[in-house]
């Protein structure tokens, strides 16, 4: 249900003073064009993460249905005031906060008269959604949250969007390089703070233009160190997790301009699951959502409390080609039961643990039958069947002891179906099971 993502800068200059600088005017124009695109997209929700809304205690979620105020920016007040009245979707904010809490994160909703909505959010919503045609939801940026917690926040957003079922536009409000001119300048001569920062910005934008969101997430720390990127560029970790952490997007850089020395850009990312990646960067992390935050101060901040809850993670994926089912035993790692590519189904290694209880049957015959039952459930979930299996690789932990009895039990099902088969002996399997099967089938 995620339609698109946008990265936008949150300084008020394009909104309040476009006439003072050609670059600010250009940003304003790009902002407005994106706003028109959003309005005509059929989107039903705009989800905003702004680096200018700081939080300390976990994350905050705006649920006031109609916040109204006149913003006078603490620094840029000379540019003018920004009266605002926004249309917020409180139900989505509550759902998002609830999902965060369920996964061990500190989360609180806010609905207070006079709550100071940050300048970044105000600018983004005023320019992207000027008529409040689409309800919005806003989440804070925790100043302490590192990569894992920020990714978890993004995965929770993804889960909330899927559960909510509305077409959603995702907005990350962040500067690129974030070094301001600290003296008064002639606005007409605004430029990026340094050549180095400018070069880094252009490198990052080149990657965005190629739709390489995950790659940007991987180099965010370097970018932050070298160009003082806004809040460590953590907004990109959040956005990456919301969007599924891949490089499979069509990217478009609408504009890139200096705003008082900082790097300000407007970038569009459209999911493209069919995008061919010829030279893919390796991914070293799976989904993460579970955190321990006891608040004692004695724990290491935001340590991953346990291995990612794969069952929970399974709720998060929206890849159309990913197959998961409750009728088969849960995977024991961050992988799905199966994936579909064209007319083929590739199953992960499937063991004999029973769905629901994780019980491991006694004996190789029963374990073989249990493996086949799990495979059957997964294939049926994918609209296929045992009869459409093409190839099986079987892993046995004790070939000498078990092969004959395994073979007999195997034949009960596959004697007539006759898929190709390879049987290998292995030292061990991840859990105390004696057999695992890897299957390729027709969809």
């Amino acid at each position: 249900m995620i339609q698109k993502a946008f990265i936008v800068a949150g300084q008020p200059h394009p909104l309040l003073a476009p006439e003072k600088n050609a670059g600010w005017a250009s940003l304003r124009k790009a902002y407005e064009a994106v706003g028109r695109e959003i309005e005509s997209s059929g989107a039903e929700l705009i989800l905003v993460y702004s680096t200018q809304w700081f939080s300390v205690i976990g994350h905050l979620f705006q649920v006031d249905p109609k916040p109204k105020w006149t913003l006078v920016d603490q620094n840029w007040y000379e540019l003018g005031e920004i009266p605002y009245e926004f249309r917020i979707d409180p139900e989505f904010g509550k759902l998002y906060a609830k999902i965060c809490k369920e996964h061990g994160m500190q989360a609180a909703t806010v609905a207070y008269h006079g709550f100071p909505i940050d300048t970044g959010t105000v600018v983004a919503l005023k320019l992207l959604n000027p008529n409040n045609a689409i309800p919005a939801s806003v989440v804070s940026c925790n100043i302490y949250a590192e990569r894992e917690e920020t990714r978890a926040l993004g995965y929770a957003a993804r889960a909330a969007i899927e559960a909510y079922g509305k077409k959603t536009i995702v907005i990350a409000v962040t500067n690129l390089s974030n070094r301001y001119e600290v003296a008064d300048i002639d606005p007409a001569h605004d430029r990026i703070s340094s050549q180095k920062d400018d070069e880094w910005n252009r490198k990052i934008l080149e990657m965005f233009g190629e739709g390489r969101l995950e790659d940007v997430g991987q180099v965010a720390r370097d970018f932050a160190r070298e160009a003082n990127a806004d809040m460590g560029f953590k907004a990109i970790w959040w956005l990456g997790a919301v969007m599924g952490e891949s490089n499979k997007y069509d990217g478009k850089v609408w504009d890139y301009q200096p705003v008082w020395g900082t790097g300000s850009a407007i970038v569009e990312l459209t999911p493209n699951p069919r995008k061919q990646i010829e030279w893919e960067k390796e991914f070293d992390e799976g989904p993460v959502m579970q955190f321990a935050e006891t608040g004692t101060g004695l724990e290491t901040h935001n340590v991953l409390a346990e291995a990612p809850d794969v069952h929970r993670a399974s709720e998060l994926s929206s890849h159309e080609d990913v197959i998961r089912t409750e009728r088969a035993a849960k995977p024991v790692g961050p992988y799905p039961h199966a994936r579909r590519v064209g007319d083929l189904l590739f199953l992960s290694g499937i063991g004999p643990r029973k769905a629901g209880t994780n019980e491991i049957p006694e004996g190789i015959e029963e374990q073989t039958r249990a493996c086949i039952a799990n495979i059957k459930a997964i294939l049926e979930e994918a609209g296929s069947s045992l009869e459409r299996i093409l190839d099986i690789t079987v892993f046995l932990t004790d070939m000498q002891r078990d092969f004959a009895r395994f073979n007999k039990a195997y034949a009960e099902t596959f004697g007539t179906i006759q898929p190709t088969r390879t049987t290998v002996g292995v030292d061990s399997l991840p859990t105390p099971i004696d057999i695992e099967m890897k299957v390729i089938a027709s969809a």
Binding site: V56, Q74, Q106, N178, V182, A183, W260, G295, G297
Partner: protein, 305 residues
């Protein structure tokens, strides 16, 4: 007018929790109690400094953050609702304050003459930050003495601790000269916490004091080291270690309020009076005053130099 003087300076941290713990009528959320050690510290400081009959409080706050130079509240009155964006559950404060605009303009002029970039903020809809409000409220809950509100320049966050501190020392000198010219009896409030690492969770009852302690031992050791220098009156050594303190204890003195005050006070070589130290969601907060009238008493309290 001339012969103005700074009659005192206070390290006056601003966690909104202490206002929440007080249950003052101006603050909407209500509590059972909480953070008494700090609140009582403020009570003692208040009793002492209000007895000196100040004409004005000057407050430098980290929560009014400015990019271009140093800004001053520039209208005679501000009123409105200040909602803490981080702890909105604890702090929604109805403020109504008066500003000594004349003194603020004098400081701005002195700063400009010394090469600083200064500005007057004259928009009546400007929302005064909660750092300014908490420090001022804890010193003068009747709000019957005007203030000078000064922003915190973000230079140390873009460049270096040392660069930021050098600016604050200049601003302190400009502040002192302006006060002397103004004829005012002024008290300075440096609205800074010491070690500034917060917990990222909050108890179900925010004022549950069984959950309150310093975030980490290293932060506490740093706090004790800098407080020891305060108690010994070794403020020139103190200012030299502050940049390191900022890095090692994530200290909020990076925002410059404390350096500004010490500079304005002329780096006192007599001990500061420690009215109290305690933690607020893990951060180290000390209420420490400098006043020549406290010199003898504070000296007996401090460890020997």
């Amino acid at each position: 007018m001339s012969n103005g003087q700074i009659i005192g300076g206070l390290l006056a941290p601003h966690p909104p929790h202490i206002v929440y713990g007080e249950n003052h009528w101006r603050n909407e959320p209500k509590s059972e109690c909480g953070w008494e050690v700090l609140r009582w510290a403020y009570e003692r400081a208040r009793k002492h400094f209000l007895a000196k009959k100040p004409d004005v409080f000057l407050v430098h706050s980290p929560h009014w953050q400015t990019v271009i130079g140093h800004h001053f509240l520039g209208l005679p009155e501000f009123h409105g609702l200040s909602v803490d964006p981080i702890f909105p559950n604890l702090f929604r404060f109805n403020y109504d304050l008066k500003v000594d605009v004349e003194l603020a303009e004098l400081i701005a002029e002195e700063g400009r003459a010394d090469g600083l970039n200064t500005k007057m903020m004259r928009n009546p809809n400007f929302r005064v930050d909660y750092g300014t409000i908490v420090s001022c409220h804890m010193m003068n809950p009747d709000w019957d003495i005007p203030i000078v509100g000064i922003s915190s320049n973000n230079s140390p966050y873009y460049f270096s601790n040392e660069m930021g501190q050098a600016q604050m020392i200049k601003l302190g000198e400009a502040t002192r000269r302006a006060i002397e010219k103004s004829g005012r009896r002024a008290i300075l409030l440096a609205s800074n916490t010491l070690s500034h690492r917060h917990f990222t969770t909050e108890p179900e009852i925010p004022e549950d004091m069984s959950r309150e302690h310093v975030y980490e031992h290293s932060g506490y050791l740093w706090d004790m080291q800098v407080i020891d220098l305060m108690r010994k009156g070794r403020t020139k050594e103190l200012i030299a270690v502050l940049p390191e303190f900022m890095d090692h204890a994530v200290s909020e003195v990076k925002a410059g309020s404390f350096a500004w005050m010490l500079s304005a006070l002329g780096f006192p070589n007599y001990p500061g009076e420690v009215f109290g130290y305690w933690t607020v969601i893990g951060t180290g907060n000390a209420v420490v005053g400098w006043d020549p009238d406290l010199k003898e008493r504070a000296t007996t309290q401090g460890a020997s130099a």
